[in-house]
Symmetry: none
Subunit: 235 residues, 4 copies
DNA sequence: CATGAATGAGCTTTCATTCAT
DNA sequence: AATGAATGAAAGCTCATTCAT
């Protein structure tokens, strides 16, 4: 997103801080119920000054959506491409998704709640990205069925169960509670893998395999460096 | 909810129509983003005339929430009190919940999305009712564990999985699609009962038992007569 | 004020009741802050039915003003024309004015407070009537000076003192308190007659003379029959 | 009343101008009958911009009431505490009150007419301040009776006469007429002191004594510097 | 006589956005 | 880089009034 030329070094830092704060407010009060005034007060900047950093209120919403979508999709692509049992990949994908939810709960609230306030092109882009994520999940589930690990169920319905189970978590999770992403991911996958599992099939030790991957690549659930690289995600 | 005295016979009919329309608009655009003007245009009434039927915009939200909560909770209580295997009761509860979601998708959107726009007493009441529903689910899950049908898992986490799976459905379901509430309920419970099931336990034929109940009481998932009786739910 | 022809016998009764109630509400809440709805509720009539009896909200204000002005001015003319010492006539006029204030405090509130909400012709008429009342008072005061009962003071300023003293009473008087119109009138006139009195002049026993008049004509302060004859007052 | 931080130098000036204009409009049309739109038009500002300066319409009313009450009560306290004959103090208090009425006639209109539109805490505060003022007057009248300067009359009724006489002046006075506060005060006190005076008592030369005080303290009737300092009045 | 229903203008207030400085 | 000031549109809601029945 190109800016007018000649910005000082602090520009981007402050800009990111503003988006952070916006996510917090939008999550707490809703996008429509949060005023630009509220945001200005929260970041300690007069309304006029805010517009030096942001283009519009809707643009903030877009940025927040991107911040969720970009790392999520980039990690999902990577995990789906791993050379590992589909069950293990599902387990890793689950933890990656839950990790983002735990780390940036407010962004997720906005992502889940207010994406329908978006209009025009960006909404289309976003829906496309959501569809891609869904396809990645479905691909793994289908592979597990083909291998005989899972019963033959409608892959679409199975995918939606996977997504329901994970995506609704933001509604009640508390980031500083006594559960973490790894714990919940294990519990969810326990249910799903058994639930989808073919009657006779002996499921591999998914947990151990996932552990091994995470030992090698601690950034696998969520890259901490590029965490909020809001670079647009090529679809 | 008694109205000021002296309203003609058409009053209540039109009033219900207005609430219906409001649910539709709120679902599509969000509560905060829908103006009373929009609603007036949609029902073909000037803004002023609208207020002849409604008390306030927030009151519409309350009515919509009640229309979801009242039948849901009343049915849930009844099902939980049935003399049947907890697994069967879970299956019936699942279908009841999904039936409401299918029948009044727009109400559910509002119910799930905009309950945080409520203020004051009613919000407290609503949260209390949601908590009661959650307790009913947890009670059945716990009983299934005590009987040895389910593995010993954290009942709280199990409850949340049940709710995640069902409650997120509104996000993608299409009421006129090729799935119905019974089909989805079967799929969800297939996953959950197997997923939670104790390794050696032979699960009973839940589907057949549930069918029997529904044959006897076709209104069990959702009473069609009193469907939207928005009578307040005694807590 | 001619009505559409063919009104039943109860019409005028109910109409008067409505004006009474309006005066009560206007006095309590102010003319602008009282809605036609409030009035309807107070008289137990739907808004639509009200307009069968009244022409408009402003018209109510006019009627209330008339109900004060008509008896006040009619009595004032009569008293001013009496064959009696000007001091006695002032005393009788004072009591007449205070009697109206006590009897219809709410009308007086409206009269004093909201006459400026009137527009057009009627406001002019009303101001003319107020001026006439003022002239009657001034006439009596002037006569008292000419006779040497009063010091020579600016008659205009003296008149305004008389009016200030009486007309502001509505602000704090309580009709069911332990003072009545006669008591206050005596107190006010005590102050005024002594205050205006010429240094050497021996003031007559005004109280006794006034008593005599009232014995003969108990209706002198305020005609109870024609009390609210809202017939328009010829100016 | 500190404003949100960071207002330019012109802010307070314009703010005061707006309150002035509001007083003018409220006086002419009444508080309830004056719209924020009217006010905006009168000060040449769009409705939205007005709210940059004011908090609410009711707040304007509060400020106007304060502008009357604060200087009035502060001066009244000071005068009541003077070491002088109660009659002289009454004379000074009278002139102080009339001076405020002359100087800010529109504020007084609002003060007298629309105080009942106030709600909540501020109304209570205001009524308390009005009661205090009344107590100060009554105190002086009582002292004059104790000294034998005045006849023994009901102090409450005497107080109300003092207040009626002065407070109703706003109804007809014209600030640019040929009378001023000093003239009217002299006339009113002439009437009251003689009217209340004990039969045999030789009243001191109140006018001369009052003149002496005013020569020493030209700001005694009304401090011109802090004239509209709307600082809250400690009760 | 009286009602329920409707309207359109107006109310107070908040909003996202702009811009000269 | 940031501010104070301004705008015009729109928000939720109330109002006086009308009228078919």
């Amino acid at each position: 997103m190109p800016r007018p030329p000649g910005h000082g070094p602090g520009f981007e830092v402050r800009r990111q801080k503003i988006i952070d704060t916006a996510a917090e407010l939008f999550a707490r009060q809703g996008y429509a119920a949060t005023s630009v005034n509220d945001l200005g007060r929260a970041v300690g900047l007069a309304k006029g000054a805010l517009y030096y950093y942001i283009d519009s209120k809707e643009n903030l919403l877009i940025e927040i959506q991107s911040r969720v979508m970009a790392p999520l999709l980039s990690r999902a692509r990577e995990i789906a491409a791993l050379d590992a049992d589909p069950l293990v990949r599902l387990r890793l994908l689950s933890e990656s998704l839950l990790t983002i939810i735990f780390r940036r709960l407010d962004h997720i609230w906005v992502y889940e709640h207010d994406y329908r306030s978006l209009t025009g092109d960006y909404l289309q882009t976003l829906l496309g990205q959501r569809a891609e994520f869904e396809r990645l999940v479905r691909g793994l589930l289908t592979k597990a069925m083909e291998r005989g690990s899972f019963r033959a169920v409608d892959p679409h319905v199975a995918t939606l169960q996977f997504l329901n189970l994970h995506n609704h978590t933001y509604q009640w999770v508390k980031p500083d509670g006594h559960w973490d992403a790894a714990y919940l991911s294990r519990a969810y996958c326990d249910t799903l893998l058994r639930g989808f599992g073919a009657p006779g099939a002996a499921l591999p030790d998914v947990e151990e395999a996932a552990e091994a991957f995470k030992r090698d690549r601690p950034d696998l659930p969520l890259d901490p460096e590029a965490e909020w690289r809001s670079a647009s995600v090529a679809s």
